[in-house]
Amino acid sequence: MTLKTRKIDEVMIVGVPGPNLDISSSDAFKIAMAPILASDRKVVLDLGDVEFMDSSALGSFLTCLRQLNAAGGDMKLCRMRKTIRNLFELVRMHRVFEILDTADEAAASFR
């Protein structure tokens, strides 16, 4: 899996490839995230292309978040669809992750 990345100031914006992020791709996602987690402290996952996410994808997000938190960083989410928002609310992960509408807003929130 290759991740499209760009920077807004010192914040790393990661485009998560779609349309599905599930048990068949969540391991690959974690592997692709590893170098980013090693080099960056401020990360935003852009979910604009993701149409479906399952609990294993959610689990991989949690792994990334914990790794960043341990290094004094943070990871935020943006451009999340309603159906995925429903999943986050169902398992209360909207309280664990900060979710913003746009990448710019997410980047700005780090300041």
């Binding site: 048990i23 792994t63 309603k82 159906t83 398992v91």
Partner: protein
Amino acid sequence: MAEQPVRVLLIDDDRDYYLLTRELLWEIEDSTYILDWSNDYASGLEAARSNAHDVILIDYMLGARTGIDLVSEALASGCRAPMVLLTNQTDKSIARAAVSAGAADYLIKGRIDAYALDRSIRFARERRRAEDAIEKARTREIEIGANIQNALLLSEPPEDVRGLDIAAVSRPSQRVDGDFWCFARYGDSELDVLIGDVMGKGVPAALFAAASKMVFGTNVLRLILLLRQYARLPDPEEIVAALHHSMTANLARLGSFITLCCARFEVRKQQITFVDAGHMRTLHYRPSNNRITYLEGDNLPIGVSSTELYTQSRAAFEQDDVFVFYSDGVTEARDGNGAMFGLEGLEATVRATAHLSAREIADSICDAAMKHANHRGTADDVTCLVVRTVDDGNEWPLQTTSMEVTSAPHEIDSMRRLVDWFCDKQAIDPPLTAYEKSTLVLAVSEAASNILHHAYWGTRDRRVQVTLEAYKGEVRVELTDWGRRFDPNDVRAPDFDGTRDGGFGVYIISQSVDDYSYSRDALGRNRLLLIRRAHGRHEAEPPPPH
């Protein structure tokens, strides 16, 4: 090795004769006898009942009563020792009466010497030993037969055939019968019932019955495979013909035959198709018009004529009808006067109990037949199998579709797409909202992930089946796999604070559908049923309090 001393009981009111007998027994050189003596009827009976003796010698004249009375009474109260009657008279009729009452032998008092007494005692004991051995063998045979019967002949009827309530009950007779039954299922609402009776009794009949069941099962399977290319099921007449062809040569060699009825219930067509091969005619009761008819064909039993052409007949049924398959043990149960329970008894019981469950009807029939026979035990097994056509409260699906995929992660997307596509079916009306559909897709995805992970432990070449059914305002999805047992109800609740990466799947499923249930079916499969109803909801309910 020295022989064990033989304990002899003498029942005689004459003390001199006791002394004489003791003398005679002393004279016998190569056996040791211990002689006990009772000098009247009552104490003699008491001693005989205690079963402490190897042989009992009983005088014919015992006060007001006779030794023959004592023989009968002692046997009736469980006396096991052989009894020899002693008489002064040479009257042959007394001798005959003694033997028919159960005495092992009789001796004429004046003519007894030590040799004759010893010989009589030895023969009586020898005969008892032989009788015991036969009795033991007979009990053993009954045990073997009963084990065969329980393990092989009387399988439990399926419980989850849609629209059919089925129960089978058998009350065993003194000896094992060749009664058997078996079932073959096709889909969720079609069932074949085969009930048969192998002529004869005991282990041979039971073994033949077991073989018949096996041959039935094998033939059904072979016929299904054979007819697969024509996209139809084997007919009952074809199944019976195959059974006939497979078994006739063996049956003829053993001089036996099998009566049977093979009936197919097709619930959606409300139709029964049957072959009657000389079995007791199947009773069909229709409560709506209170009429009883019998399913009747005119085929010969299996194994009688190799040229027999088996022909099926059809009958229609409606909801709440009752079918009773039964053995001759039911209708031929006799009361003390020899009168049979008969079809009258059967019909009366069915009419009185037809509103009850199949199990209750079957129990009532067997109870009534046993009661008619005054619980004295019947000559034949009392066996009956009841099929009641019921409204199981389930509608038939308006549309169904199914798919099988391998247990590879990328296949989960195919399942999601199938569910997504199916949820837009017209038949579901009112339709699921986009939100309701997305939650069902999520639940199916989580359930499939669980199967891959927990049932198949990541093995990618196994199979997962998904079946979708559309009902009015409702979609049901069933996921089936052959993996390890995985009951979502055993999974602990997840942590909601982000400290654990996994454990959300089952919780998500439970929150994303209206109902779900897990079962492990008779074929050893995991089955998970998910039900999503249309509520017109466009977004999630507020999440439950933390």
